[in-house]
Assembly symmetry: none
Homo-oligomer: 218 residues x 4
């Protein structure tokens, strides 16, 4: 009496958890508006009634899906990065996780596409994503600041602004990759991003001064 498997070999977990996973899968592939309750129910191998027994409505299903995914991602990152002492290595690890994630499974794509869709659509959900991004930036800000305190990173840059650009670079690489997976190699793209970011952060002040001087003359 193990959990049955459907025709295509994917395991169908019954009950609330299974429905949630199926919903995540559907939302990732077709977006929120493009996913009907019927489709989720059919894909999960349950009836619509069962679905409505577990979730109040479609929106709540989305909420729980989003929360599950955000939580899973964050705790995964934390688990991987926390043991690392060196901030530079931590940043590199995060970028690598994101690249791996984008190239391999759909977890981050789910988050990113739904985030943009919610932008125009769902205020509450959008708030959830906003908090997530704030936490993400805050996490990097702490990393960067600790790098500055330990003398690894230069002190003359604002940690907040640096965190913003770092997170932005990750998001932008992902967007470009999802949009054009044939032209973009996320892994190397994100590696370049980190290289560039760390080069800038670890740059000796004098070299930096010379560099910006020549560039700022606009």
């Amino acid at each position: 009496m193990a959990t049955p498997a459907n025709g295509r070999g994917r395991r169908i977990e019954p009950g609330k958890g299974g429905i949630l996973l199926t919903a995540i899968d559907c939302f990732t592939r077709h977006g929120y508006a493009g996913t009907s309750i019927d489709r989720i129910a059919r894909a999960a191998g349950v009836t619509k009634g069962a679905l409505y027994y577990h979730f109040r409505d479609k929106e709540q299903l989305l909420f729980e899906a989003v929360k599950e995914r955000i939580g899973a991602f964050e705790s995964y990152v934390l688990g991987k990065v926390e043991p690392i002492a060196d901030p530079a290595k931590s940043l590199r690890a995060i970028a690598r996780i994101c690249a791996e994630n984008a190239a391999t499974d759909n977890h981050r794509r789910f988050i990113l596409t739904l985030m943009v869709e919610a932008l125009d659509t769902n205020v509450t959900l959008s708030g959830e994503f906003r908090e997530m991004l704030r936490r993400f930036r805050s996490f990097h800000r702490h990393l960067i600041r600790s790098g500055q305190e330990s003398g690894l990173f230069r002190n003359d840059v604002d940690a907040s602004a640096a965190a913003e650009t770092f997170v932005g670079g990750i998001l932008g690489a992902e967007v470009q990759f999802y949009q054009d997976p044939e032209a973009i190699d996320v892994r190397s793209s994100l590696e370049t991003h980190v290289d560039q970011f760390l080069a800038w952060l670890t740059m000796p002040p004098d070299a930096q001064r010379r560099a910006t001087q020549s560039a700022r003359e606009v």
Copy 2:
């Protein structure tokens, strides 16, 4: 006898052009799926029939809107950047245009949100956006390469990869701003992005060597 203004004070231009502008506005605010034909028609002050007189279906309306907007953005950027001789100043100008655009009107937001929505939804349209991004990267690649040839930028970085990170940084800053306009200041965010990018690109080789050495030890 002037063209009348609607309740929210925006002028209603009748005819195909007016409908298109209204549609862009609606799509920007509510996404494609979230915008009903009825809504566009009402906002444009015409009936659904009129809308279908000018556009074959909702998708074609979207297509024309997207093409209009992409074309307008690209020619605007070209017009502003082409007269500039210095590649570094060009990059800075582009970032400034994008920041201005994001903070002021909805043109880039329209493109970005619809691009992500089309990802899971509309293959043809997604192709359009893919081409747009390729052109955008290509444009930057040429800028960077010309900087390298003139000795302004270091020669030991791949222009393609650099273009990718530059474009990614812009997209990422925009996404973060749209998601959380109160926490993010696009203008300064993008300025930091350019600073960092140019610092990296104009870095003297020796400083660069030291920087990456310390960072690569992962």
Copy 3:
């Protein structure tokens, strides 16, 4: 607690079967294009949603209606005719069934009108009707051939061609009746048709020879 009756006194059977019967009725009276889903739903006492729960779309509703009706007619004819040994009596029985059907209920009219409407409209459905007519002709061909083998019918006519004219006569009588029920008495019209057909089939060869001789001189 019995099933309720609608305004016109016809009993409304709920569920899929009831909808199908109502649909047949509507299609018969107003044709396919002239019958809106709304009309069927209203006549069946359900909402459009219920209708779409049971049938994929309007066309499938038509398909099931047609199949039901064709099947019912064919099995009815078979049930009545098979016990009859004499081919001549069988032909007469078929004509009588069709006449009765045309004069009494709408079953054959449904088939005939939709068949003609599908001609210019629905290739797949038209194929269904084509097969039905082929089966009908084939059925008669077998009857006629068996009459020939038992010596009842003359042997110098092609059974296929005879089946064609017999079926044609039935269809033509029906068309004329539906078009002008006041001027046409289907029952006697079809009786004349059978009389004439059997007279020709059972004609002694010599009389036949004389008859055609005089007629063929064109």
Copy 4:
């Protein structure tokens, strides 16, 4: 300045007549409900406005089309048959005309399909077709009666009933042909019909008596 020809080489006659011919063509191919005013206008190479200038509405267009076609057919038949003295040859000629018409152009198909479509739809138009069929039967009744008076046809059959079966046979053959042109050869089918009809009409009374006797025992 001759009338221009369109791309596919079919001549477009401008003005009312050209529109009418185009309409007939469209109605024949797609039925009344399946033909939009737009389609007719485009096919005729005029705008909808022009069409509404010449015809009050779609129904009137149909009316004029039907009248034109019925009139053309009737005067064609009259012109061919009136010179013929022999009623048997006349009947044969009519059948031949109908077969030729069905196999060659769309004139009779137009009449037949629209007749059936109007049955469920358009009372007035249906009246037009009813009158047409009455005239057609009446025409044959006269032919048959004159054959009876001249001793060619037997006198013991009702001319009206005979006309009914004759016309019915023609209609039935046409229906079968339109439904299944690959299986049905209208020309030979109608020839068999006439053979059979004349055989019956010219049958010597004694043979006829024997024939029906054996058949009537049902």
